[in-house]
Every structure is written in structure tokens, then in C-alpha cells.
């Protein structure tokens, strides 16, 4: 394997940002600058759509301050997208790569981005264009296959756990008995389940957790809420934005022609607000909902150091894979080992693209409203240092 690649390196970011998506960019970019073998290091503006429009910036011309600042900056510093390429688009991508002599392509993203990277890799192979295309995992949803965990999840999970602990402390002290916290997670309940780490005592929040892996019954939900309020006087219920009815329809869907992206994924509706309304009307209990939403994936105050180390390492490893002339692979994280630096391997993009890793059935409590101890044992180290602990008067 050569340690050099001729031509240009292109890095892009796709899908929803995470608190550490730019740390992966930082890892890949600093590794590439250190390798010193590329004719240029480009960044695509707004993901793959920037490739189509040849909208590039020079990453090798950024100041060291800007580069260092990536590690503490939320959002996608290059801009991101949710655009599904058609066949003609893929040809255009390859034309742009040829024209610009782009020979290495790192795509930092989730399932959809891995699919895009995979297809670009396949087309380049078919057309005998030498290209090293590597996927860099990123998603707060933690739903990429073939990796122990996804960079972005640990920090977003920390946000969920700390916020539910905070909100629980507030609700417990007040006479509004019902609080519903909506978490992100389109199809997987990893983030909703992470709320379980908020608990400080047997009666503490959260009392109920609803994951999209289980069909959601509004009637059962109302009965669950009522039972906890009758027992404790208050309840914090955590509901994933992605919960669906028995018939697979969303519990509450956004309406409007623009609410689906070109992958066909609908923007989830405000299910927490909807359910709080039903609690107020049908249970006649004072009820409110919280939807921190984007706050939870853009708050740098909740970054998990382990998650950040993962994010940087997958960026570095992706660049190393390019230098080793690999293509059509994603960097995958091996299981977490306390105290050890994150270690990675490469997995074929074909195994990752368009599959989703959901919470396994044995990690969901039989009640369907909680996660099990092994789930918590898996998530706890990923969220970093212990959460803030609060005083309770005796």
C-alpha cells in the first residue's frame, strides 16, 4: 500500500449536525495536512450538493485558529444537506471529480450519506476512475450498522440525560404534574433510552420512556401517565420524536408539502406537544411538553470527551484509509475500553448503507416503557463524566 495519493482531497458533511461533527473534520483535515501529499484539500459547501455545484472552499488555506476552533463549534462547518442523488447526479459528481482531479473523498455523515459515498465509490470503480472514497460515521441517533457507536451520540445522549434530570428536578418541585420531553431519534430509540441515566432514585425522572422500536398506543400512554401521577403525584415521560402507531403511521405527523426531504424522510411532528394536549383534555391533568430539539445537538456544554475523542479518531482513521488506498469503506469504532484511546477498523460501505441499527429487543424492558440495565451499561461510559448531582433537603 502506498502512503501517497496524487490529486486532491475533498471532504464533505451530510445530514444533521452533531456537537462533534466538526471534530471529525478537524481530525481528517489535520491528518491530511500532516500527510502533505495532496495537491489541495477542498471542502464541499452543503454536502454533496456543493459537489454538484462545484462549490468548494480551500481547507488547506484556513488559519490555524479557524482549524483549532472547529473542535468547539456546533453545526456543520462546511454546511450540510439532505439531498438524494439521482443517476444523472452521480454522473455529474464523477465529472466534477475528474475535472478537479479529486482522488480522495471523505463523507462525514449518517445512513444516507454512507449510501451516497457507497454509490460514488461504485460508479468510480465502474468507470475505472481511481478514487478513494471513505465514509466517516456521524449521527446523534446512533443508528449506523457495523460500529460499536456513532460519534455525536455520546454528547447528545449526555444532553438528554442531564436535561431530563434537570427538568425532573423542576417538575418534582411544582404542582404541574405531567411533563413530556420529546427527544430526537427518527427511527431508533438510543437517545430516548439515554434518558434513563437521568434517574437518581427509585421515584425520580424519567418514569416512562417510549422508543420508536415499540408500537405506541395513545390509550396505553394515557393510562401509563395517569398511573404514575396517581402513585407519585407527578410524572416525566420521555417520548422519541419517531414513535409510531401499531399500523406504522407516525403518532403525530408534520403536515405540509415541504416537510419531507428528498430521501422521503418526513420531518417529525411535535409529538410531545400533541400528547401534552391529549393529557390535558382526556386525563384533565395539567400538562406541558418540552422539545429541546436542535439545542440537544448543538450544545457544546454537553460534549462528552469520549465522544469527542471518537469523532477526532474516525476523521484521522478515514484519512489513513485513503493513504492506504482503501475505498468503499466506513470507519467503524470497536467496543469502548475504559482508559484506552478509541480504536477503529474499516467496514464495507455496502454493509452500512441504508441499514439502521435499532435498540435490540433485549435492551428494552418488557413494559415497553423503559430500557434495561445492559442498555445503561452500554451508554453510561459514552456520555462522559458523571452528570451533575443535586441536593435534596431532608
Amino acid at each position: 500500500m502506498s502512503g501517497r495519493v496524487t490529486g486532491k482531497l475533498l471532504i464533505a458533511q451530510g445530514g444533521g449536525p452533531t456537537p462533534v461533527i466538526n471534530t471529525s473534520l478537524y481530525g481528517a483535515l489535520t491528518q491530511a495536512l500532516g500527510a502533505g501529499c495532496f495537491d489541495a484539500i477542498l471542502g464541499a459547501r452543503f454536502g454533496i450538493t456543493g459537489v454538484l455545484h462545484e462549490s468548494f472552499i480551500r481547507l488547506d488555506a484556513q488559519s490555524s485558529d479557524r482549524i483549532a476552533g472547529l473542535r468547539r463549534t456546533p453545526g456543520a462547518a462546511l454546511g450540510s444537506c439532505r439531498y438524494k442523488l439521482g443517476n444523472a447526479d452521480y454522473s455529474k459528481v464523477l465529472d466534477v471529480f475528474r475535472k478537479n482531479d479529486i482522488r480522495a473523498f471523505l463523507y462525514i455523515g449518517g445512513n444516507d450519506s454512507m449510501d451516497t459515498a457507497h454509490r460514488v465509490h461504485q460508479l468510480a470503480q465502474r468507470e475505472h476512475y481511481e478514487l478513494f472514497a471513505i465514509g466517516v460515521p456521524k449521527t446523534i441517533d446512533n443508528d449506523l450498522a457495523c460500529t460499536d457507536r456513532c460519534p455525536g451520540f455520546g454528547s447528545a445522549a449526555r444532553y438528554v440525560a442531564q436535561s431530563v434530570r434537570d427538568v425532573g428536578t423542576d417538575v418534582r418541585s411544582l404542582p404541574t404534574p405531567v411533563c413530556i420531553v420529546e427527544t430526537m431519534g427518527r427511527n431508533a430509540g438510543w437517545l430516548a433510552g439515554a434518558a434513563a441515566l437521568a434517574r437518581t432514585d427509585a421515584d425520580g425522572a424519567p418514569h416512562l420512556i417510549y422508543l420508536p422500536e415499540r408500537p405506541f398506543g395513545p390509550g396505553k400512554f394515557l393510562a401509563d401517565v395517569d398511573a404514575v401521577v396517581k402513585r407519585l403525584g407527578w410524572v416525566v415521560a420521555v417520548v422519541s420524536e419517531g414513535v409510531r402507531l401499531e399500523n406504522s403511521e407516525p403518532v403525530y405527523a408534520s403536515t405540509g408539502p415541504t416537510q419531507a426531504d428528498s430521501f422521503g424522510h418526513t420531518l417529525p411532528g411535535d409529538v410531545g406537544a400533541y400528547l401534552a394536549g391529549r393529557v390535558a383534555r382526556e386525563l384533565e391533568r395539567r400538562s406541558r411538553s418540552e422539545k429541546p430539539g436542535l439545542c440537544g445537538r448543538s450544545s457544546m456544554l454537553h460534549v462528552s470527551p469520549i465522544d469527542q475523542a471518537d469523532a477526532e479518531q474516525v476523521g484521522r482513521a478515514a484519512l489513513d484509509a485513503v493513504l492506504a488506498h482503501k475505498s468503499g469503506a466506513m470507519v467503524s469504532l470497536l467496543p469502548y475500553e475504559p482508559g484506552a484511546a478509541p480504536s477503529t477498523r474499516l467496514v464495507p460501505l455496502t454493509d452500512v448503507a441504508n441499514t439502521e441499527r435499532r435498540v435490540p429487543p433485549e435492551w428494552i424492558a418488557p413494559s415497553g416503557t423503559d430500557v434495561t440495565q445492559p442498555f445503561c451499561d452500554y451508554v453510561r461510559p459514552l456520555i462522559g463524566p458523571p452528570l451533575a448531582e443535586y441536593a435534596r433537603l431532608a
Copy 2:
């Protein structure tokens, strides 16, 4: 003025918690323990309702760890309430005070709590029961009259400003063009306006701010949003939960018989979610909303040191007022002076109770969708150190 009070001291907390409501409790309690003159120091569980039920805890029997922990604990450590006392209730309160020889009463709360403290004071006077009743200001809404600022506001304003900056960084990097952030603030726009401190550049978030001080026109809102998207490609609009139509009706109300408290205040509806739906349907633009809600008043990571110093000082000053045999007054903060410890005076509760301080007209921009420089100059020091600054690639 005597430096001693015979009998017992009672402390209670009312209304919505703030990140520093327990710091005021800490200030009052440690000052009282230092004074060493009370037969006992009691805390009422769940505000004035705890008085009615004689549900007290011994604050002078708490461990020093627990007392020190109050400064870093959200929620109302004593429990809080939203209960409007009737005439019979007031007599009951005085009976309980008599029975327990409670001679000093500190109520940490907002407008409604100040009204309650005021009426208890009046009744004690009428019935010639010696009682020193002092109000301790507390509200994230910053809407108490006769004080420069309210403890709790600075930290909640820091949360709003930092979160809108975070969310803005996320939205700017993505193709979902419209994001609506709903802030707390039932009748006053102080918190919504604080979002202006999030801005980092002329095109940065927030682009539109809607305060309850101005009638809200849904048609104008949609046009405002559309104009910003046409100009920049994205928009972050901050909307106070308390915005009302020209006819004073809420823009979007919670429904259900339990959504009003006994003061007649309705729990605000999810106006952000409602407006995001209208944007999607009527403007046909992809749109989402965030409602951090209780997260914003329970996140200890966003506590402003200045706000915390204020909170502790108003607690201490309230106890000092009791020792000086004052009653029927609230501790008021004098205008902020950089580098100086917070200074206070006493104001009559009668001037405070049931009045609201809203954002003055000259601090609202003529457009009705922004605040002016003097507003920002007032709020900026109160939120503490500069917000996190983020890198932008060139």
C-alpha cells in the same frame, strides 16, 4: 431597630423555579443560621400550600453538605406552588403562624407570591400579630416592578442567548430554512429579547424576535419569515410563549380544563409548534420549532455568576430586613454596577404586588421584531461572561 426576633422563621418558595431560586434560599438560611436568634428555622413544603397544611421541614437541621448543595441545584428545593389564597385561607395562614409562633416569613417568588406575602402582612397588621414578612424577588421573566432586575433572569437569559446562538449555527448549516424557537415569558418579552445577544454578525440568528408587548399578526409573521428566507436562505425566529393577537387572545392556547392555575393564568400553548406548522402549510417551506421550555430554567450549566450573586444577596438582605423589624416589603436590586457587589433596598410590597414590568416601548425596535441597543446594554452584563464563540471557515 432590634437585631433580634423571637419566635420562628419560615421560608417558602412560590411560582416557577429558576436556576438560582435555591441560592436565595441558601443566602437567607445561612444568614439566619448566623444570626442565631430564631427558635427554629422552618421551610414550607410546596409554597404557601405547605403553610395551610402545616407541612414544614426543619431547615436548621439540614447537613452543611445539603445546605451548600442548594447553590448548584435547580428546581425549588422546598417545593413550590401556584395557588391563589382565598380569604379563609389567609385566616388559616395566620392561625398556623400563631400556633407555631412563626414571627418571620420570607417568601421567595414572583408577582403572585409577592401578592400573597403582601396580604399575609396586611392581615397580621390588622390582627395585631407581630410578623415580619419580606418578599424575596425571583422570576426568570424579569417582570417584577420596583427592582432593576430579578434573580433568575440573568441565567435564563444566558440560556436563551447561548441556545439561540447554538441553534442558529446548526440551522445555518442545513437546508431546513425555517426554525422557530419558543421562549418562556408569559406577559413580558425580556427573555425573548435576550435572544438578540446571540447575534454574531449582521446575517446571524436571531433574525426576528416577537415579544408579548406587541400584538402578534400571524399574516405579518409569515411575511416576515418569508422575506428573511428569500434574503438569506434561512431564518431563526424567536417567539415568546406569551404572544397575543390584536384582540388580546393568545396566538395559540393550551386547551383542557386543567391548563389554568388558580390565579387564572393559562399554561401557554405550544405556539412555536403551531407557527412552524403554519409556515410549512402556508409558505410551503420546511420548518421546525424548538421549545427548550423548562430546560432553560433548570440548566445549571448556564448560571450567570452575577445572577447567582444577586440571588444570594436578596436572600441575605431579606433576613437582614427581618432582623431590622421590617415587614410588608420586598428586597429590590439597585442598578448593576460592574465589579461591585449587588446592592439592595426595600420597596413596599404594595408597589410590587400584581404589577408587571414589561419591556418599555423604547427598547423595542420600530419593526416590532427586534430589541434596541439600550435593551442589549441592559441585559448583556446580567448574563455573565461572553457566550461561547464559534469558528467559521473562510
